[in-house]
Amino acid sequence: MKKKSEKYSLFKAVFTLPVIIYSILLILVPLAFVFFLSFMKSDNYGGYLLEFNLENYGEVLDSTYLLIFLKSILIGLATTFICLLISYPFAIFLRGKTERQRNLIMKLVMVPFLTNSLIRTYGLITLLRKNGVINSGLLATGLISEPLNLMYNNIGILIGMVYTLLPFMILPVCSAVSKVDQNLLDAAEDLGAGKISKIFRVYLPLTIQGAFNGSLMVFIPAIGFFFIADILGGGKAMIIGNLIKNQFLTARNWPLGAAFSIVLLGLTFVLVKLYRKIGGDLDELGGG
């Protein structure tokens, strides 16, 4: 018996070693370098000088940059909120279907996401632009007389973000909602709960973990997805993602870019801590 378990631990080692090496080499080492870089001084040519200083972090606190952080967080929150708003009715609708229907619907949700998100974002342009599909359709039916400004503004950014990140909300919310005990819902109904009150007084408290899990996975990418802000926002809105990208690709100031990344990482860390605090399981986050 003992021999067998030893053998299995060897297998385990064989399987996990590549992952461990991979994580150390490609995640931990670069991250440590970014952390180190954030305390160095820029040489203005994309390199750094070996001089320890906190100036980069001081610069992060510049009001101009803080405003960008604030704006990114607002966009992230709005995206998360809209995703939640869509996911709950969807999850409850899905709960009432047979398993076959459920599988089919979930597949339909997932299939578009096998395509590169950049390409899908460009696809949205054909729908949203001034003489795009939506505007021409609405104009032709006479519902509007002037084309709507659906992109190159914050609306465009939100549409793009919600579209790209929705599955990350739908998956955990659906899984949480499907686990809610039917007896509790029946009991609620017997006690006179309507549809709305069932959502807020039964589903929501029982699935708050799933909702938070999804929110985390929507919010964090949303503050960093610069290509969506660039393409659908017309490059007018700068979010943290653009700011970091600019430091590396135009301002040649890698240490400042590193400092922004560390601050963003800190923000993420705080959110994950919060998630643990309300009793969330870290494995569930990784699963998405």
């Binding site: 297998f11 040519y45 003489n131 690709l249 100031n253």
Partner: protein, 345 residues
């Protein structure tokens, strides 16, 4: 699964995985070895030289060209500093990047004797401020910023002030480039485009804020699309984009901004540590040929320095070169440009 099959699977999977990894790691090296012919490593801007021209060079000179691309001077610099010397032979930096590469001693001087076709270059393009003796660089293509507007909707745009017109609300596209746009606003406020004085930068922001409500988008990749799909009626774009857009929509007109505009000259240079300087010269000399220059501008209508290539008349060219200015390397002041750009947006 039977325990024995399970065991086999458990043993085989890591072995197969390791094999795949080994193949991925070692495969390209072997194919390199097979290739004993001369190779040239070229790093160029995306969409700048039609692929056929490179293929014909390979056939004609019986060589192999490893062609990779970058989309900004900063990306080029990052690629050069993060790779071993000798990784690339020929690159195409713009003006200020030539200056920067010279100052960091990263370039190999050009041997003009090996470049007989360099006599095809028009006089006006030589001896530019970033390399006054053309010791390290020769001009490849010139780009300028121009206004582009739909003449069926707008009378005329000739000054940055015209962009402030309230009738253009949400109707402009500008290049998504901090040095170019801040430079233009500095020009508009009566300063030089590389000015780093804090008050002058502040003034440029003030001028820009009056244009801001009119801006629909910033785009450097393909601003012409905005004109072709009639998303906007006016903007500030690169000359080649303007030419291509006019081909699609003849109502469009282009004009040089009165207060000044940006020039951007891309250059042939050979990197220090290049293992194929001989071949690198042959490649540059090939690209300097009249017919090749013509074909390049047919596809990407920038201004070619080549004498035989039809471009601007001499007088207009001299005027353009004297009125426009290059982006210059501003050293540590780049930080104030970056912060200002965040405020612009």
């Amino acid at each position: 699964m039977k325990p024995s099959t399970r065991k086999t699977v458990l043993i085989l999977t890591p072995i197969i995985l390791l094999l795949i990894i080994a193949i991925i790691i070692f495969f390209p090296k072997q194919s390199d070895k097979e290739n004993e012919q001369r190779t040239l490593n070229v790093l160029n801007w995306t969409s700048y030289i039609p692929d056929e021209i490179i293929e014909e060079f390979e056939d004609e000179y019986k060589v192999k060209v490893n062609y990779s691309t970058y989309s900004s001077n900063e990306e080029l610099l990052a690629k050069l500093t993060s790779s071993q010397t000798g990784t690339y032979d020929v690159v195409f930096p713009s003006d200020y990047m030539v200056d920067l590469l010279i100052s960091r001693d990263m370039l190999n001087p050009l041997d003009i004797e090996k470049l007989p076709n360099s006599t095809n270059i028009r006089e006006q393009f030589l001896a530019q401020p970033y390399d006054e003796e053309n010791k390290y660089s020769l001009p490849f293509l010139l780009a300028t910023t121009v206004f582009l507007y739909d003449s069926s909707k707008i009378d005329k745009i000739s000054s940055y002030k015209d962009l402030q017109d309230p009738s253009l609300e949400n109707n402009l596209v500008l290049l998504d480039d901090q040095r170019i746009i801040i430079g233009a606003m500095l020009n508009a406020s009566g300063y030089e485009m590389n000015d780093t004085h804090a008050d002058h930068l502040e003034a440029s922001l003030e001028f820009f804020n009056k244009i801001k409500p009119n801006i629909k988008a910033f785009d450097s990749d393909s601003p012409k699309t905005f004109f072709i799909t009639k998303e906007v009626d006016a903007g500030l774009v690169w000359n080649a984009e303007a030419t291509l857009a006019i081909e699609e929509n003849p109502d469009l007109r282009s004009a040089y901004p009165e207060e000044g505009f940006a020039l951007s000259m891309d250059n042939y240079v050979i990197l220090k540590g290049s293992k194929n300087t001989e071949l690198a010269h042959e490649f540059i000399n090939y690209l300097l040929r009249d017919d090749i220059c013509q074909r390049i501008v047919d596809e990407y209508p920038y201004i070619s320095p080549n004498k035989s290539v039809e471009s601007l008349p001499d007088e207009e060219l001299t005027e353009v070169l004297s009125r426009g200015s290059y982006v210059e390397n501003v050293g540590a002041d780049i930080k104030s440009f970056d912060r200002l750009w965040a405020k612009y947006k």
